[in-house]
Symmetry: C2
Subunit: 344 residues, 2 copies
């Protein structure tokens, strides 16, 4: 099969081909675990690195150059579309919202920017990546409820009490906010594809906070709208819900080619519960990359074993830990590349 | 059935009786959401309130007096047995470990204190509660892996990278630590029953961090040993794993009379997956108590509806949020008490 196509390995797997070798990229592969990133970070603030297309391209390419990753995830942050909507964000280092959104008046005042207004620097970065990257660039955005989680709570939290109370107290205002976040996200992601992204991933990083009923009301329909709108672009759509084993039946109804799975459940337990023929992405525990070499190899092999029986993109179950030694990533990649998914 | 026993309502349900009214208590019911607690907290540090039996009794009784709760959960912290083992803990306000446990030498140096050494102030508090409380006092402890989570990581975290890496890098040292935590916990909980606790709850608050394989190796056997040891005491054993829908099949094998369920899944989806005849405890989303009155009532009713078909102790799915208005608790309790679990 694989020899019948000129598609890059990542896009083969993302479009449903059961490749002999699993393509690989790691969430947060560009960033703090790399010494070459930390060197840049001494000179530039995080936002500067995101907003300067040359710098963002350089940071995006660092892990591709060092490791030969099969995809180049755009260096950016899911918060990117919030400031052009009128929601100020600072990084200290986690995102902090200038004025958390808690009222209908605040939601009414939010803009839904045009496609070209949201983040011209992201468009420029993707255009540079189209030339610079030997592997497909992946664009991404945050799922509306995950973006609203920060917008309403105001900062990171263990339990997000303000968000969760808000959904129950002001559901209509929450829906109005989610509408605007959804429309902005559609425009933002379409722009990314138009600018060169060959796949897009929607990150529902805080899905796992919610019970099934809350998720069905405040998350699922908005995720569906975004993914449906992106269907017209023709690029593979990757969906990730973190901490959400209890939401898998809902997730399985979403129109995506690829489902990214966190580290909590083995891929062979997940695959039968998702649509036939879809691609699984994941799901090495990022902690495995801090283990001794033999433990890394056996953890990688276990994920690859569980990923068989359908197309698989190898990834972590969540972002790489910032204290991951790059040599451990190399050990993982060697084990991966030596593994024949079609063997006996 | 209920008229055939003199047992307090909480103990009826905890021992498997399908009561007409669900008994109720709330995790963290004693503490920061109560103005009478905050008044004491202005005068005393958190540790002082825990360690002074008169004060701890007063704090334990505050929600029982105010709300007529059906059980009096001991005012304490799951960290209590760590200092007598030799692990220093401060609260700022979350627990911070003086010297995180990262080496075999540190684990070897840890003590397993005698039953009476661990927390004499807890024994005294429970003896005072036996006299002061019109309802059964509940004792509690942290599950070994949850205690190790703090002991190894050193403080609260979103992802606990140090803990998760440690389990993979130094599994033998982790097991040695878990052994000592398990034996200490057995002694600590036995002492609580001997001192007057009429039920005990084991909190596995960080269960949800782990994949099934990690949980099966580092958590389940230790939880089982504690619960088995407590079986000899004759009091109902309550087990809570937070964020762990993917671990329910493992949890279901534990010897407990009561399974406390977080807010993520409805009780009627959970009951068929647990041993026949066991009691379910839970699982109102704590965020529901920040909603308008009608939304509170309908959320309470939904939990009660889903709890039918077997014994049920009403509780939250996790600790009460500190900004919960006490009048909202009253609204929830009124809805609960008006609900006939045996009706039509």
């Amino acid at each position: 099969m694989t020899s019948m196509t000129d598609l890059p390995l990542f896009l083969q797997a993302a479009t449903g081909i059961d490749t002999r070798t699993a393509p690989v990229w790691f969430m947060r592969q560009a960033g703090r675990h790399l010494p070459e990133y930390r060197a840049l970070k001494e000179k530039y603030a995080f936002w500067e690195l995101c907003r300067n297309p040359e710098l963002a391209t350089e940071v995006t390419m660092q892990p591709v150059r060092r490791y030969g990753m099969d995809a180049a995830i755009l260096f950016s942050d899911i918060m990117t579309p919030l400031p052009p909507m009128g929601i100020g964000v600072e990084f200290r280092p986690g995102p902090v919202i200038d004025e958390p959104i808690r009222s209908a008046a605040q939601v009414s005042a939010l803009r839904v920017p045009d496609e070209d207004e949201i983040a011209p620097f992201v468009a420029d970065t993707l255009r540079l990546l189209e030339q610079a990257s030997p592997v497909p660039p992946i664009g991404f955005g945050g799922a509306p409820l995950t973006l609203a989680t920060y917008a309403i709570e105001g900062s990171g939290s263990k339990e997000y009490p303000a968000l969760r109370a808000f959904l129950r107290t002001h559901p209509a205002v929450a829906h109005a906010l989610l509408e605007k976040l959804t429309e902005t996200s559609i425009r933002y992601l379409r722009m990314q594809v138009r600018s060169g992204a060959r796949a897009v991933q929607l990150f529902d990083s805080w899905a796992g906070l919610h019970d099934a009923r809350t998720y069905a009301e405040f998350a699922l329909p908005y995720n569906r709208r975004i993914l449906e709108a992106l269907g017209e672009t023709g690029v593979p759509r990757i969906f990730l819900a973190v901490g959400a084993p209890h939401l898998l039946d809902q997730v399985a109804t979403l129109p995506a080619e690829v489902f990214s799975i966190d580290w909590r459940e083995p891929l062979d337990a997940i695959r039968p519960r998702l649509p036939a023929g879809c691609t699984l992405q994941g799901n090495l525990d990022p902690a495995a990359l801090l283990a001794p070499p033999d433990a890394i190899r056996s953890a990688v092999t276990a994920v690859l074993d569980a990923g068989r029986g359908g197309p698989h993109i190898f990834n972590l179950g969540h972002g790489i830990f910032k204290n991951t030694p790059p040599e451990n990533v190399v050990i993982a990649l060697e084990a991966l590349r030596a593994y024949d998914r079609h063997a006996g």
